[in-house]
Subunit: 207 residues, 2 copies
């Protein structure tokens, strides 16, 4: 029996190249989960194999900037010349229906969400070592050397922001990291601040 | 990879009759756990089948009061005319060696521990309903009707103290409750306040 029936907003963040996307995929493989996927929106070009509406919503700069103006994004960031953001629309509805909404975003975006929704769960994914992160960024074949250099510099600036998050999870092995995030989600539901209201109602014998 | 290498002190508490002991036993059945057992000390008589040094250390009032005076107990409480307490000795050593020390105690004792060791993890076990708790207390065949009445009154006073704990876990089904506690322990290790020091050392490349 879960005392908190509303779903959580779970922010999976961390420096670029740390494996956030792979961890999110592993998380969704966990049996009997009630996770729901928040698809991000971006102005960057699709990489090979990426599907619109599944990996990202791929939109034009004009379209993206219209949404910024309409305040229709949970957060957004400009990164290496491209916009990335999270459409706000169905997130609330999913949480109300008891789904855990898993959002994978860059550090800049996560900190925007934290100002807007401090009760969300903020998880910072880190590499097992600095060397491992740099290797992963260099191996990514889709960017120019100049872009890779920018990414490494940005990752180095982002290291120091870990203290702003609720949890730090090491991506030493993808399934370990996903299991730990699942444990965090279960634990967060049991937190007194989230569960005490329903508990007192139970003890009154009203439910 | 766990960023926090020190074991946690995990306090499992809640009103008498809620099933704390059964949950603790289920917790120790979880494979590959590194839990360690803190055996309580009491002046009450052993129930049938209880083994000294395993279920409790059964001691005299004189012996117990000497330990109170020596400050050699993590906490203690007098309950229905008998003392219950937790010997302090090996707890610290176990935590230093990376073991999670699981302590099962009454509400009064848990709140004493909270003053002394606020960084411990405080879990309040609750029944699925008030009716379920009263039934469990009545079924316990080892006490006199007078003692049962005292237990129910005490449990009712303790309901309202849930807000002082970090987590509330419903004992609807023992293995569910134990699994949720295991998730809490894993999540607590990933908490930023416990893991950031080791993380920054990793990022410096020192480890």
């Amino acid at each position: 029996m879960k005392l908190n029936e509303k779903g959580l907003l779970v922010i999976i963040s961390g420096p670029s190249g740390v494996g956030k996307g792979t961890i999110r995929k592993a998380l969704f493989q966990i049996p009997d989960n009630n996770f729901c996927y928040s698809v991000s929106m971006t102005t960057r070009a699709p990489r090979e194999g990426e599907v619109d509406g599944q990996d990202y919503f791929f939109v034009s700069r004009e379209e993206f900037e219209r949404r910024i103006k309409d305040n229709a994004l949970l957060e957004y960031a400009e990164f290496v010349g491209e916009y990335y953001g999270t459409p706000l629309d169905y997130i609330d509805k999913q949480m109300e229906s008891g789904k855990e909404v898993i959002v994978e975003i860059e550090v800049q975006g996560a900190l925007q969400v934290q100002e807007r929704i401090p009760e969300a769960v903020f998880i910072f994914i880190v590499p097992p070592s600095k060397k491992a992160l740099i290797e992963r960024l260099e191996k990514r074949g889709t960017d120019t050397p100049e872009k890779i250099k920018k990414r490494i510099e940005k990752a180095e600036r982002e290291y120091s922001l870990a203290y702003k998050y609720d949890y730090i999870v090491v991506n030493d092995e993808v399934t370990n990291a996903a299991d730990r995030i699942y444990a965090i989600i279960r634990a967060e539901h049991a937190k007194t601040e989230r569960s005490i209201y329903k508990y007192y109602k139970l003890m009154e014998g009203k439910e």
